[in-house]
Symmetry: C2
Subunit: 594 residues, 2 copies
């Protein structure tokens, strides 16, 4: 049975050694965020996740959510855990202190979130969706809406949901049919059916605040006619308490491959009273702000589940006695050696490590830039951070969730037949991780967002902060002999990335199918180069410190970096070749021949 | 909801056009196997699978097997389906006519088996394991054992199981503790616990014939002291009917990620009466013959499930209306275009196709050589076929099951959120397919078998038939201008394969960890080259026939071949690079740092 432990040592490494904690503390609003405070917070929240959330992970998966007469009951223990979670303030790490939030940097919150997902993916979705809803209201809601909804949502007494998808539309929200009709008091009556609504209905909170995409009768067609509305499950009384039911009902819950303890609901709105958030017909804009925030969060889900799977695999590889090392018995007194002696098992574990630690480093960089983009005093610097985030959001969402599935499948494979058995917990990681490649925009859509939208926008402006950072780092280390084994392949892969970027930019102008065709491979290549950059930086720190205390930790960084450069980065060569081949044979394939 | 249809057109192509049906008919014993007969058989068995097995696939997954007081009940409908299945003789396609079998070539049976797995993976395991058991008894059993057991097993009134794994040993069967103590009548009393026993107990047949690995008290340690025993669930009366219970009980069944309708049992043997199969202490040999046969079958499972997933994905991609083609609306009168217009969706579908059809062709070649190895009059030709099969068995098992997972995950991704919902059936393919990478020897073990055992054996003799076939084909087509776009990359990838084979052979002699480290990548590279060879052959046929009737079918072969060469084969470049990097950084990683 898997036993997840917060990877505190590596989180500290990322926060204190790879990033610059002083730069975070220097940002207005974060003056009190000292490394010691961050450390204490990660330790405490980690402990809560290990002790309170993790024990509910398997039982929640087996029990699932219950649906009866429109009511959804979460699995046993979820209510109590949610109460404790909110009491510790874990539900409001980054929320505005004005409404009762902790006001922490995203960089810190991201690390805490990883632990929540690692300990209990399904559970993390209840506060996760609320955070997204809070975010939208903070950014786009009127003062009245903020004052009415945020205090209870930040406290956790009310939760939030995001109602986008309808049975006939997911990716293409322009097809949305849910109607909103304005009333004399400037409120709206919202009518329609939404599906795949995470935490649309449940028993954890007194009220649920739905953020609903809908169109007014005279709205323009397509996505230009979509508006965003707040629709509470229970109406809000004059005194701010929850009142009567508001025409919102849960029609059913889905039976899914995984995240069984998370209620995925069909939500029916029937003349439900709602309130416009932001401007009329500008709902997609507000939605995208929220979704961009969510997308980093979804990437983190992939990371959390991957770490949990890795830990389970390592434990098994140490304990399972089977066969002998190829070079001769390692434990001749025992009947067999632990399977950790086998190169192929080590290859699997190091693949997991290299992807997990590389992704943690990359995600932390993106979170750090998010903090910059919100809190830095210099507008130019904020703008630059915005550009970087625009580029990296689809990369983090898609690549880190692809890795979530890849890594959790590897973990399961390490256990062999035992990995396929439910009670050992490893197959649940695979089933849970799988959704993250799909929701909040499938990974194919992320790739198209990257290459079709972010790459060409403003003549490539979004690309610059990342490309310049890698290029400058390569120049800076050019004379460092110790780093040569990393520098040369990084420079080579980066060169390939630059070249294919130029090729695709040109081809895309003539034929947009060239962009669509290359997008998934391009996203992966960019991510692999970004991880190589992070791994070289981590190796650099490792080389400086592998003689002192904790030498083993730093040596492992160097060795894992070597593994990454030798065994994973070469994929960029194949990706370059496939992208160069273009879209012709795929697009000319006869539709009827499929 | 997925609706599987037997891919008859492509099966006919493989059997009649890619292979040589006359060469099969020329083999002694197969004189009556005309293409028309094969065609009728595939059509009929396909119809049965579509109409009788497929409807039980989802319901069987939801219901699962039931365990009560040592009895296992299969899901509703399985008993009736099994009866019909045996009445049609589908359970005994390749069995010896002497015992009531159909005596069909493996090449034909393999295609029929694909359909069974595509329609209902779990169901196919009940007759599948019986076939393996029959195979062992046919090859190693005494005349008495054959006459006692085979007629009822071939008829399907009795089923079979293979009892290898124990709680503390799976891969390393030398650790097996189950005991067999000889009795005065030369029978044995078998005592021990076996786990992960597919179809160890169920309600489909009157009796279950277990083939059990065990050791006698004075047997040598390790795998040299393992013997194989027949242990029937019910003793056999003098008149050949099933009699009293025989000390074999089912202790429990596993709850698994998938194949829920297949009973995976813990089997307890308590002084159960058994009979030696083959020679004492030579059980592993008999087991390997059976397992090699099973391993091709497991590869076919990956193929069947992949085809089913592909069909579901194509159907959805045609029907789902969402967004617009990047090059402008394809169906301007509708609100949106089908998602089939998107390059990334087509990329996913063509990846599925290229892997499925390539694997079908490769598996058919292996099955054909199996027929040769059993029935060809010339011993030298039989020996050559044996060598080819020895090499290709691990490749087919591991690569085709890796593709089973890869392809079914792609299929699920095409459906987006709808793919994650159980009722749509696509996620079941992913869960079912996953086991095939694990059982009958994990894919890591297959890779080690290929590179550590098959490659060096007899100075590379096993490699020759495959390497020569590819080399000769390349020489033969060297001057064919039309095939140039396939020939050049095939020759290049083949060159890489030859080179890395030589490098690894040399390195492996000095350090066996070099073999273990490269094995998984090597197996994939060899499989990718083997598929390239098949795809070039298929493209060649396509080019000859793409102007006649059925032009679309042949043109699709050419186009899919192009896709394979452009988009999948380039992986061999990256694999070459990773293998060249050797084992040093992986093996020197500190065990305690994991």
């Amino acid at each position: 049975m898997a036993n997840y432990i917060t990877p505190l040592r590596d989180m500290r490494f990322v926060y204190n050694e790879l990033l610059d904690p002083e730069a975070i503390q220097a940002l207005p609003g974060f003056e009190e965020i000292s490394p010691d405070l961050v450390d204490a917070l990660l330790e405490e929240s980690g402990k809560f996740c290990e002790e309170q959330l993790q024990p509910l992970n398997r039982s929640g998966d087996e029990e699932g959510c219950h649906f009866e007469n429109g009511n959804v009951t979460t699995p046993e223990g979820f209510k109590e855990a949610y109460k404790g979670f909110c009491e510790m303030g874990l539900n409001s790490l980054t929320s505005d202190p004005q409404y009762g939030g902790q006001g922490l940097p995203k960089t810190v919150a991201m690390l805490a979130e990883e632990t929540m997902c690692g300990a209990n993916f399904s559970f993390s979705l209840y506060p996760g969706l609320t955070a997204g809803a809070i975010n939208s209201i903070e950014l786009y809601g009127s003062e009245e809406l903020k004052n009415t909804y945020l205090p209870n949502m930040v406290e956790g007494t009310w939760s939030g949901s995001m109602c986008l998808t309808e049975p006939h539309c997911g990716t293409d929200l322009g097809l949305c049919r849910t109607k909103a009709i304005v009333q004399d008091d400037n409120s709206y009556l919202v009518t329609g059916t939404k599906m795949f609504i995470t935490a649309g209905e449940h028993d954890l909170t007194e009220n649920i605040i739905h953020l609903v995409l809908a169109r007014t009768p005279d709205a323009p067609e397509g996505i230009k006619g979509i508006s965003l509305f707040i629709v509470p499950k229970l109406s809000i009384n004059e005194d701010g308490t929850s009142g009567d039911a508001n025409g919102v009902t849960c029609g059913s819950i889905e039976h899914k491959m995984g995240i069984n303890a998370s209620a995925t609901c069909v939500m029916n709105f029937d003349d439900a009273k709602g309130y416009l958030v932001g401007k009329l017909n500008k709902g997609m804009e507000a939605m995208f702000v929220m979704m961009n925030n969510e997308r980093l969060g979804v990437g983190i889900q992939g990371l959390g589940v991957a770490e949990a799977s890795y830990q389970g695999a390592v434990e098994y590889a140490r304990d399972r006695i089977q066969g002998r090392a190829l070079t001769g018995a390692k434990k001749p007194a025992d009947k067999a050696d632990p399977i950790l002696v086998h190169p192929d098992v080590r290859r699997m574990l190091l693949t997991q490590r290299a992807l997990i630690e590389g992704n943690r480093a990359l995600a932390a960089w993106v979170a750090f830039e998010l903090d910059i983009s919100h809190n830095h005093p210099d507008e130019k610097r904020r703008k630059q951070a915005d550009d970087f985030i625009a580029l990296m959001t689809p990369v983090v969402k898609a690549f880190m969730t692809d890795c979530g599935s890849e890594v959790s499948n590897i973990g399961m494979q390490v256990l062999g037949g035992h990995g396929y058995i439910r009670e050992n917990g490893m197959e649940q990681y695979v089933r849970d991780a799988r959704i993250a490649q799909i929701y909040e925009g499938t990974n194919g859509i992320q790739a198209l967002d990257l290459l079709g939208r972010k790459m060409p926008a403003h003549f490539g402006r979004n690309m610059r902060p990342f490309f310049h950072a890698v290029r400058n780092y390569i120049y800076e280390k050019e004379m460092n002999y110790e780093l040569k084994e990393f520098l040369i392949p990084l420079a080579k892969a980066f060169g390939r990335l630059q070249k294919i970027t130029a090729v695709l930019a040109q081809r895309g102008m003539k034929n947009p199918d060239e962009i669509g065709m290359a997008s998934t491979d391009y996203l992966r290549m960019l991510a692999l180069v970004a991880l190589a950059h992070q791994w070289m930086r981590m190796a650099e720190i490792g080389l400086q410190k592998n003689n002192g205390d904790d030498a083993m930790f730093y040596q492992a960084k160097i060795d894992t970096a070597k593994f990454y450069f030798e065994r994973i980065l070469p994929q960029t060569g194949a990706l370059f070749a496939t992208m160069m081949s273009g879209s012709k044979s795929t697009m000319s394939f006869n539709d009827d021949a499929f």
